[in-house]
């Protein structure tokens, strides 16, 4: 065997450089030897497994690491995601759409990938910090010092305990921005047990007005999903589905086919991403969307194109919807599915022809005619897609009703290729805290809320109830005027109100005024700049338990957030040990629990009792105390993490616990798992598919309106408005007048108060000194204001049509620029009655003359080194919210961003 052998056939096994030298199957075996070597560790002298030897890798991470389920909350699509974690270094490498999701599969929009730069962002807060400079102000350095979690929680508990002793719990406040559906723990139950009515969510600066339309026509205060795979005509109003909000991944994936099978028209003052790919672009004058909606309804009725089965028909078949003519209601037989179309015609539509609308909206009459006709020709497979643009305006509510009512006219409500909602989900509500609310708390809860919702000038008619909805931005005025009461202690979580509210300067003052403010977020944001305590939060996509949901393709999915860095997420020890990059905690569960323990130390143990009693592990029944008995801070942290796990198990129990499911829980249908592990491993649960037309009364269903049918005449709105008027013992006309609407109950030369109708836009600032209308729109790579510190956002900023990489340009039509003597790249100032910002001019034809368009998202002066020009000193770019005044669409309570913002442009 050992003669001098000069021939050695080395080429046979010499790894072919590019060929598949190691097929996948043998690879598995090769790795095994390495594993044995690794396990022997020091036992070896001459060799070591390649991992330890720091040598190069011999397999892609996709083959060695594992995909763990989680959810991306980069926008409200809330896509279900899978995170690739490298097995050797426990590092997150990639994120993609969840392969099992019937909504988007592995497809995820670019935002989701920015999360990785967020997770490994050096500017993340790594441990709790305390302010040492008592003075608060925009250009006052807070001089944060690191402190331990124990001290921080103790400080916060002291403040709350003091409020309770002085029996003024209403001076405690919680503000919430983004959230998961574990939100009730921190957002509702904690303030309820402490006794404060002041928990303020961000909804009114998101798109509450978008829900007003469907509520007062169809009885559904909710966002919709759109059946694009089956649709033949899509008319998008200010919506940009391939770029932002509510299922970007699904709509981007389907858009190519949609262009083949359907006609797409977009109503938008600037050329948006969707508009640039669609068949028709209606460059509407900001604030005039309502005129187009009424004119299109006029055309549909005038030409007899409405959906007979859904709307009804004239007894003798003769179409009496003749322009400028009133119609006798008796001649029209309404269908079982809707009511009031004749009243809508008589009160509003009869004289609103395309010419009338063209004058106001600046869109050619023939285009309006064409779009309306082709929209209606697509019959029930036509979508009137309601976006935030036309409705988040001072008189946006009625435009929302008109736009959504178009779906009613063509019968696409809940129908194939039309506007759908979400099938029922099998989540369980978290246990309620009622028995743990003592009298001091009861008293506190009776106070009026700090955002003054429900007052005469703030109807906020969510779900038909006066004062039902939040008026987020008005909370700042409530704090500043100490009306209804002073706020002494604030917990703000997962929000940056000092940046994301219109006229955000007011929030800077309000936050500076609050004596004690603890903020729970990942970065030192503008809001944290005024905080006394920063409690660093986990990153939602990788480091915590939570649950959100996606809606699309006819389904709704329940998506889990799981701590992907831990090997066994169920084991609190493991999660605390290596589930997080830094010493950070979950805002909605761990921090409230630690707070409860600290409050109990100070004698107020209602909260702790609630958590300990009501949140055992539903699987094994063991309570938190049984799991971890110790009273040292480490055991508290472990209990807090176990509490988070138990909470999510309780929330999703029907899906994974067959016994519970078949108990007295009314199971809505959908996937069934038979163990928590199986469900957690998968991380996503699907409902049944939406059943077309199942809500139509003609098919045995029922709409959520007071009348139970689709209302063109606004009967539910009438009841809500009358409710609000009675509450203030006045009449509807005064309410509408105070709230700055033009509609009146029965006044000939004013629009009818209840039917969907056009109202002239209310300009904030006079047209002479502020000649341009400001078009604010979303950034494709912005994770709701949280991704400005990632380098990729700036490097690829030109994915927004008209924008430039690494810049924050304002897009101006070349004709306007010529008048102002502006050239491409000139530094400019944008001034409005509310404030002014600096920017750079970009001459771009995709902007309507008389308007300027600017992407929202930049203008941070804190948050991090990439987001700000000079951290704590100079802003990078300009924050749109500094020039958008604080005004409201008062019926829905929404803040106003569009349509009415008048600005002036000057060369710097």
């Amino acid at each position: 065997m050992s003669q001098h052998d000069t021939t050695n056939d080395t080429d046979a096994d010499e790894g072919r450089r590019f060929g598949l030298s190691v097929g996948r199957r043998d690879f598995m075996k090769a790795g095994a030897v390495g594993a044995v070597a690794a396990s022997m560790g020091t036992g070896l002298t001459s060799l070591a497994s390649t991992a330890e030897a720091g040598g190069t890798r011999d397999a892609l991470v996709e083959h060695t690491g594992d995909w763990k389920p989680s959810t991306c909350a980069g926008c409200t699509s809330w896509c279900s995601a899978q995170i690739l974690v490298d097995d050797q270094t426990n590092r997150v490498i990639r994120t993609r759409g969840h392969e099992d999701s019937k909504i988007h599969g592995k497809n995820d929009c670019p935002r989701q990938d920015l999360a990785i730069q967020q997770l490994y962002d050096p500017d993340r807060i790594t441990q709790p910090m305390k302010r040492t400079n008592p003075e608060k102000g925009k250009d006052v350095d807070p001089e944060f010092e690191p402190i331990s979690w124990e001290e921080a929680i103790d400080m916060l508990a002291d403040e709350i305990a003091e409020l309770r002793e002085n029996e003024e719990p209403e001076k405690f406040m919680v503000t919430r921005g983004r959230y998961t559906y574990l939100r009730p723990i921190l957002y509702s139950y904690l303030p309820q047990i402490i006794g404060s009515p002041n928990n303020i969510s961000h909804s009114a600066i998101c798109a509450e007005a978008e829900k007003f339309g469907p509520m007062y026509t169809e009885g559904e205060w909710a966002y919709r999903q759109y059946d694009v795979t089956e649709s033949r005509y899509v008319l998008a109003w200010g919506a940009d589905p391939i770029s932002t909000n509510r299922q970007v991944s699904h709509y981007s994936n389907e858009f190519g086919d949609l262009l083949d099978q359907a006609t797409v028209a977009v109503v938008e003052p600037r050329l948006s991403s969707t508009a640039s790919k669609s068949d028709e672009w209606l460059p509407v004058e900001p604030g005039q969307d309502g005129a187009l909606a009424s004119a299109m309804a006029h055309v549909i009725l005038r030409d007899g194109l409405w959906h007979r089965e859904f709307v009804g028909e004239f007894a003798d078949g003769e179409n009496r919807f003749v322009p400028d003519k009133q119609v006798d209601p008796d001649t029209f037989e309404e269908s079982e599915n809707s009511q009031g179309v004749v009243e809508w015609w008589n009160e509003e539509l009869s004289d609103k022809d395309p010419e009338w609308a063209a004058e106001r909206a600046g869109v050619p009459a023939d285009q309006i005619e064409r779009v309306a006709t082709e929209f209606a020709d697509a019959g029930s497979r036509a979508i009137s897609w309601l976006g935030g643009g036309p409705v988040m305006q001072v008189r946006g509510s009625y435009a929302a009703m008109a736009i959504h009512a178009l779906n009613g006219l063509v019968g696409s409500v809940g129908n194939r290729g039309g506007t759908l909602y979400a099938p029922g989900t099998a989540t369980e509500d978290l246990p309620a805290p009622d028995e743990y609310v003592d009298e001091v708390a009861e008293e506190g809860l009776d106070n009026e809320k700090i955002d003054q919702r429900g007052r005469l000038e703030f109807p906020a008619l969510k779900d038909g109830e006066s004062g039902g909805g939040v008026v987020t931005n008005n909370a700042a005025d409530g704090i500043l005027d100490e009306d209804p009461n002073e706020i002494k202690v604030l917990i703000s979580y997962w929000n940056n109100f000092a940046f994301s509210n219109p006229e955000s300067q007011r929030w800077e003052e309000a936050l500076a005024k609050i004596p004690f403010h603890a903020t729970i977020e990942t970065h030192a944001s503008e809001t944290a700049w005024f905080a006394d305590l920063i409690l660093p939060a986990t990153h939602h996509q990788f480091e915590r338990w939570g649950q959100l949901r996606s809606t699309g393709n006819g389904y709704r999915t329940i998506n889990l957030h799981t701590p992907v860095l831990a090997d066994d997420p169920d084991d609190p020890e493991d999660v605390l040990e290596n589930g997080r990059l830094w010493d950070v905690k979950t805002d909605e569960t761990e921090i409230p629990y630690l707070l409860a323990e600290s409050l109990a130390d100070k004698g107020f143990d209602n909260l702790l009792e609630f958590f300990d009693e009501e949140f055992p592990d539903p699987d094994s029944g063991t309570t938190l105390r049984e799991e971890y008995a110790g009273d040292d801070f480490r055991s508290r942290e472990l209990r807090a993490q176990a509490f988070s796990r138990n909470a999510i198990k309780l929330r999703t129990q029907p899906m994974w616990d067959p016994a519970y499911r078949n108990g007295d829980y009314d199971w809505p249908g959908g996937e069934e798992f038979d163990s928590w592990e199986a469900f957690r491993e998968r991380g996503i649960w699907h409902t049944e598919k939406w059943e077309y037309r199942h809500r139509w009364p003609s098919e045995g269903g029922e709409f959520g309106t007071d009348s139970g049918v689709f209302e063109f005449d606004g009967e539910t709105l009438r009841n809500a408005l009358e409710g609000h008027a009675d509450r203030h013992d006045t009449d509807v006309d005064t309410v509408l007048d105070v709230c700055n609407y033009q509609g009146r109950v029965d006044d000939e030369d004013a629009p009818n108060a209840f039917v969907p109708h056009y109202e002239e836009p209310y300009g904030m600032g006079d047209a002479e000194s502020y000649p341009f209308k400001f078009v604010d729109h979303k950034d494709r790579l912005n994770r709701e204001g949280r991704s400005a510190n990632t380098t990729w956002l700036h490097e690829f900023r030109d994915v927004n049509p008209g924008d430039e990489p690494n810049k924050d340009v304002t897009k101006i039509n070349p004709r306007d620029a010529a008048e102002l003597g502006l050239e491409d790249g000139d530094p400019i100032v944008i001034r409005s009655p509310a404030g002014e910002i600096e920017s750079e001019a970009k001459l771009w034809e995709g902007v309507r003359p008389g308007t300027v368009a600017k992407t929202w998202g930049q203008g941070h002066w804190a948050y991090g080194q990439v987001a700000a020009e000079e951290f704590g000193e100079a802003a990078r770019g300009g924050s749109n919210n500094m020039v958008i005044g604080a005004d409201y669409d008062r019926l829905s309570g929404s803040s106003v961003y569009y349509g009415d913002v008048q600005v002036a442009i000057e060369k710097r």
Partner: protein, 224 residues
């Protein structure tokens, strides 16, 4: 090689093989106190070579170190160069094709050289075989016959392509040049064990091919 190497354990034979290769690999390293202490502590049962002979032959440590340097390290002309490439490719060259081939073999198996020596150093090769046998044992315990078969093949391949081809020559060189008895004994033990093991492996593989007894039966076979 920890773990109980009791005689009644079904795979004792294999474990002993693994341990022997590892031990031999050790011995080719520079003789330090703890290595010699380790050698002294080895339980004869767990090794398939006459370790007691080795133990007696250690003698004075300083001489051993001198001899080790003369044979394997230099600085002058190596008496018994411990590199396969020297024997297999051409008389005096190091880091030739053989080294690269061995390196590729290690990398494919997921291991790498941890000492600053070329991959085809005798200590590394011996240890690599011991690793292959250890993995085979694991596969045996997991009852994955296919994997066991795979590793037996790999062992045989490595012995026939590499270690087996030059072990006798290095042994001859050691026998001619070694001054201390330790390296004389080491030469004999290494050569006889490696060649014997290679032979046994060949028989077993033929037996596996010709008959259809499963791996279990085959391995349970003859003692050393």
């Amino acid at each position: 090689m920890d773990g109980t190497l009791g005689t009644d354990d079904r795979y004792a034979v294999e474990r002993r093989r693994a341990h022997t290769y590892a031990l031999l690999g050790e011995c080719f390293h520079e003789p330090t106190e703890d290595r010699l202490a380790e050698l002294a502590a080895v339980d004869d049962e767990t090794v398939a070579i006459d370790v007691s002979a080795l133990r007696e032959a250690t003698g004075d440590e300083k001489a051993l170190r001198l001899d080790h340097a003369k044979l394997f390290v230099g600085p002058f002309e190596l008496a018994a160069p411990p590199y396969e490439s020297v024997y297999v490719d051409a008389e005096d060259r190091v880091m030739t094709d053989a080294t690269e081939a061995v390196q590729a073999e290690y990398r494919q198996a997921g291991v790498d050289v941890a000492i600053d020596e070329p991959a085809d150093h005798i200590a590394a090769e011996l240890e690599f075989v011991s690793l292959l046998v250890a993995t085979e044992v694991e596969a045996l315990e997991a009852g994955d016959d296919e994997a066991v078969r795979h590793y037996l093949d790999r062992q045989y391949e490595f012995l026939s392509d590499h270690l087996g081809r030059w072990v006798s020559e290095i042994a001859d060189n050691m026998r001619n040049a070694a001054e201390t008895e330790f390296y004389q004994v080491l030469a004999d033990e290494t050569q006889s064990f490696v060649e014997g093991d290679g032979q046994r492996l060949a028989n077993r593989l033929n037996q596996l091919e010709t008959t259809d007894d499963d791996v279990e039966a085959v391995l349970g076979g003859d003692e050393r």
